[in-house]
Symmetry: D2
């Protein structure tokens, strides 16, 4: 049996006249994309073009909802009430899914963007609002989550299918949290090192922690990491994605979008 | 056989802390609503609450897409390119339809708002973009149109089901255009007069023109007006809707949402 | 010597077609206004009209900068970086001051709005950024501050003139913080009680605390409260302002805008 | 006596995380910049950084107000009412001027951006609103105008100092209008040709028209072009600016910001 894993990146993060990243170059290396829905990036025309391009590359398509924060690119925590997070998330999923449908494409997953995601790692009401919006849109729609977070917990509690995601370019603490960006070594810039970590994540389900020891992404199995995330807004994103992809192939791991999301 | 007609109004036009109109009072008098989708009014939480309220009143639900113009309430022509109009319209329809679905409701129709609608009456590329977005979202979804406009023409050309709409509170020119708001008598403020006009529209399919004679809304039949529109942002909208409703009842015309939209 | 005090309220919080509060009715009862600058409310045309109206009532004019958050009316904490808060605040002060100047009016003060203000009560970098922006715009421009907050502290540290403000409609804790809105009794709705509290604040410089005892707004003097704030978005704001004004007059306290701001 | 001319470009057109153009490279070749004010580009922090950079290069600083249209980059005509254009323009000038002042810099001029400018070339109420806002902010503040437009006419009628601007990279019609972008040859991409045209504009005050003959920018004198504009968002903007600058130097024309704007 061949081990496979999903390789995802954020996409469609241009806005009007402003270009972000090089989606066309990156898409040939991925199996899934998280498409901005207009709240942190991605005006409707950009969304449509991104969907068409993703369809041409046969990528799994994810909605990438955010706090409403164009000037901050959705990277700033906004203390929105849970009913606001619910409605904002549902609005964005719906908008992207409808546009995908008009282009003949299905929505594969939902992944929270930036500060909305960060807040959902520890703030239960925010996590629950995201999971509830995902379920109310479509109970079979999986949510990409960072393992061992409040978001994973709330999604499972609501019966939302979860897809476990890890970051080959980011250092982890031994309790599973991402090392803060202010910590030296928190970001991995070397494509070869990112690729080595991707392979360990995919084949062992764990990674060395920056503060010693290992973090195992799941308690039960070394093979439960479902998706690896590449940061598309990095200047060297294409180079990293290529290195990761080649290393996975060399390790006998196929890159393909998840089909059977993990049920709770 | 009982004659019936739809009675619609714009709704959900509050935004965050700002309240517009009295949806709760108006909804008991209508059969359909056009719900703002966030571009001229209607933040996601307002949309959700409007949908729930509309569902409680068993109203037909319409998406009410607009140019992106919160400070102008969508009432200012924006010379957006057709592909921008297409994407903006599709985005808004999708967002509302998905939120409706999450609340257990179906989308009944699409109606362009304000300046987007006005521009589509005469500007073929804009009209076509709106009709195409509606069709690409769902080919069975009807578009509310002002009769004898480019929007009606383009919708029919694309096979989009059309619902013919008239305005009891607005004066018409003999060629079918709405009398400009700058013209004396262009707006009808007297509920009794609006009600009288509503009955004539519903039962005769025509109305007296402000510049003499009559305008017949369709060439073929006196009974083809499908929907009457009340302006929900009028201070006396509730009073007018009640007068229209009572006059229609007295004339033997039932108010109910359209079920069988007119196919092209 | 007659004791005097400023009576301020937030104003200009309409946005495009949406109306908030009744500025015209309230302005005749105030001595100062805090004018929204476009980030939580107040499009440019609303700002201009508010300034003209304020000028007609000879009110002291304040800039009321906010986080950029129209859908949340600036009431949601946004974890903006200090350099973003600085630039956003300076932008808004500048915009309002320039518009005031074009209308022949001077800017009297700056007051942070909603969540920006709340965050600045306890978060030193945010408080410092607001104070620095105020000083860099004009070193003589006073900042309205809640006494005993980080905002007061940072303003004094930078040499920004401070004006001490209290809320007759809000309950206080014995340590000087406003009682959380979730606490029963945190908001005073009775105009007579608000008026009684206003007089005590103005003449004794202290108020009964909701958790027992009194809070004295300054350590040195019973007369150092400079301004009382009425919430203009309350339905009964006009009634409260009138009661406060009459009670102050009966107590021999003149309502007038501050002229000599308290130097640090 | 040495002939001199101003060389300006739009700048500060990044927005949050999105970068537009290469201001740092271009600034060393210019004498003036038109700084985006937040309505089409340029969040407050970008504005502040742009101002600091412009100050380091000793550039003349202009406010570059736009229609409120981030997704369209201000390039789409918006049928805003004159009082809206007035207030929007005054707001943006004020915001930039205040931020400039806080950085120790003066505002040199105002230049309308994109579709706001285009509309003001032919629509008198829009042109008048822009000119009036400029004058009400500061009667001595010059407005950069395309010669022979309604904007020049209205500015002169109101006594606003005007600075005549031409575009070395754009073809002209014999009546002075810019050749529409849809016309072949309407844009000049060759740096050498742009440079040749810049020299002719600066030294002869006229240019060959794309439809035959010449267009003279002013009737009275061959030397009245005050400023040449380079499009900073062109990929080869730096190359063109360098070619223009070198050709002007070779022709004995000094590049420097205008000091004595042309009074009406």
């Amino acid at each position: 049996m061949t081990r496979s894993i999903d390789l995802n990146a954020d996409a469609g993060e241009s806005y009007g006249a402003w270009i972000m990243g090089d989606d066309a170059a990156l898409f040939s290396l991925l199996s899934s994309v998280n498409v901005a829905c207009g709240f942190h990036a991605g005006d409707p025309l950009t969304m449509q073009r991104t969907l068409v391009l993703a369809g041409q590359h046969h990528l799994g398509i994810g909605a990438h909802p955010s706090y409403p924060d164009l000037p901050g690119f959705g990277r700033r925590i906004l203390e929105a009430a849970p009913d606001q997070v619910y409605a904002d998330t549902l609005y964005q999923i719906s908008a992207l899914a409808g546009m995908a449908g008009a282009a003949g494409l299905d929505l594969q997953h939902v992944k929270a963007h930036g500060a909305l995601s960060t807040r959902a790692w520890t703030h239960a009401p925010t996590a629950q609002a995201i999971a509830q919006a995902t379920r109310d849109f479509n109970p079979a729609l999986p949510l990409l989550v960072l393992p061992a977070t409040e978001l994973e917990h709330q999604a499972r509690a609501l019966g939302v299918p979860v897809v476990l995601e890890t970051f080959p370019e980011r250092a982890y603490l031994s309790d599973g949290r991402l090392a803060p960006r202010s910590m030296p070594g928190s970001s991995i810039h070397d494509p070869a090192e990112a690729a080595r970590r991707a392979v360990m994540m995919a084949t062992e389900g764990r990674i060395e922690a920056i503060d010693g020891g290992y973090f195992a992404f799941t308690q039960n199995s070394p093979f439960e990491v479902d998706s690896l995330c590449i940061h598309g807004d990095n200047p060297n994103a294409v180079q990293i994605a290529r290195a990761v992809r080649e290393a996975l192939a060399a390790a006998g791991v196929e890159v393909r979008s998840f089909v059977q999301p993990r049920l709770s």
